[in-house]
Amino acid sequence: MTQAQSRLGLYLLMTPLMLWLLLLIIVPHIGMFLVSISVKTGVRQYVTGLGNYMVFFTEPLYWNTFARTAFMSIAATFLTLVVGFPVAYYIAKLTRGRTKTTLFLMCLIPFWVSELVRTFGWMILLRETGIFSSFLQYIGVLSGPVEFLYNDAAIMIGLVYTSMLFMVVPLVTTLDSLDDSYIEAAYDLGGNGISILREIIIPHAMPGIVSGCIVVFMLSLGNYLTPILLGGKDSLWFTGLIYSQFITRFNWELGSAFGFLLLGLSSAIVWAGLKLSRQSLTDTVGR
């Protein structure tokens, strides 16, 4: 009786999750998959086949766009790690009590406004008649207005800024759990700053680094607003291609195929990253 009851309780607790997964993830994906394998042959005429997937591999444009998106996302992830690690270390190890909470909150504050507003903020700063350009002219570094917007560097700034928080939070959590006495002991045994970072801190923080990297990579790869708005005519982001297939070209079949390719290829990259860093998904995300 009690066993039956507890099983019923388990099912009831699982129901919302299962409904969520089934109705919002699995069913739409099945529908999208069916769309992606129907190839258009004429007005309202379709046949089943893999033609849409072949387009991706035969037209170098789409393949190149994906490679560019993946490469830029990896670079953005690495930059976010480089910028985020010292911030997380400072918050976790060098501050206490109220200062710690305040600093943590300050990382959160930019996320109180929407991503669109933050991106427009960067556009105001970087545009030709914007604040950076005007300021640099005012102090005499530049002689005329310079366009900082609409290039890859602008996309990179936007991506790193957008995903900063998602790197800092897991890093702070893992670094918090590192006992300070280990670091003291290492100093006592003759270690210096660099060797302690390499031998003690980074190995301990590895699960946090990897889970932060996975989240930031996926967010960058799937980002739409930032690359399109800051990249301008050179943006060329894979999600932008998917959007234009769906909305401006009415080509849902190709758009769905691209969606599945993005899902598959990004999962492959994450898997490769886990293998390279010798971490498992349970160690990192499952903590």
């Binding site: 007005v43 766009t65 545009r127 366009e147 005519k233 070209r249 009415f250 080509n251």
Partner: protein
Amino acid sequence: MNKILSSGIALLAAGVLSASAAQAETLRLLTWGGYAPENVVALFEAETGHTVEVTKSNNEEMVAKLRATNGGGFDLAQPSQDRIAGAQAEFDIYKPIDLSKIDASQFIPSMLEATKGNTMIGSDVYGVPHVWGTSGLVVNTAKAGQVKDYLDLCDASVAGKVSYRLKRPTLIGFAFSMGLDPFAAYNDEAAYKDILSQVEAKLIECKSNVKTYWGGGDEIKNLLRSGEVVAAMAWDTGGWSLNADDADITFVAPTAGALGWIDTFAMPKRGRADEAAYAWINFVMQPEIAAMITTAAGNFTASQGGDAGVDEALKARYQASFPQAAIDNIKWYPTVPANLETLEGAVLDRVNAAK
């Protein structure tokens, strides 16, 4: 027993009341910015009792939205006349318009007939005209007065200070400017592909001149107002509204011809509030209401006599941009055949990817 009876009567009465309330429908309107200004909506609601929900969109999004719901979710849409027959053939998202419910005397006859012809499938008419305008060049005449045609945007003198959209009007405009006639090749796929490949080469060559490809009307106005862009391919109404703030910037009808469009009323297939939709069409086509919409949107309407009540300043700008020869030279979009946009899409993707 008595109690049951009286509560039954009360229920019945409530039913009758709500039935009469259901006469007033909610009109879900899928339209462009400026086509349903708040003052017009308020007047309509006060006069008819219907309520209006406005969703602002553009041609491609309208088709995408209606396709996603199989023609539901909206009661009246306003796509351009050339984009109806193709979308209807492909996705079956509209229902024919019952012309007996529309007061034809309120329309400019030539425009009504042309739109009926362009949106006809078999003997069914799918669109009636509402607002018309053109796209051409918006130029800062003080800084780039030499820009007179689409191809002038590729000139070295305006390098880095040019913007246009990466959409089909750009392909069409450039083709005309290169001395080609894309409209004549609409139904000849080989000839059209040939034109597209020439335009593609030109647009790739021109890419270094472009500051950015603009997406929304506010974006291009912002770029022109700040002086970062001095010449752009854009709608006439954008040029005129900028002209009100800065006399140097205005709309120029290109020598190859401005591209003329007519936005229409079309009924989504699964729309529910047909009565309200017809009431809205007849309401906004009244000359004085049409003038209010012209003031809000900046474009003239197909309403007979609707230009009489329009602000004199806007009329003056219109006349300065369009001498009679330029009006005669407007290239009106013919109906787009169903599979053409796939070809154009591939070209636009390649231009976007080119360095």
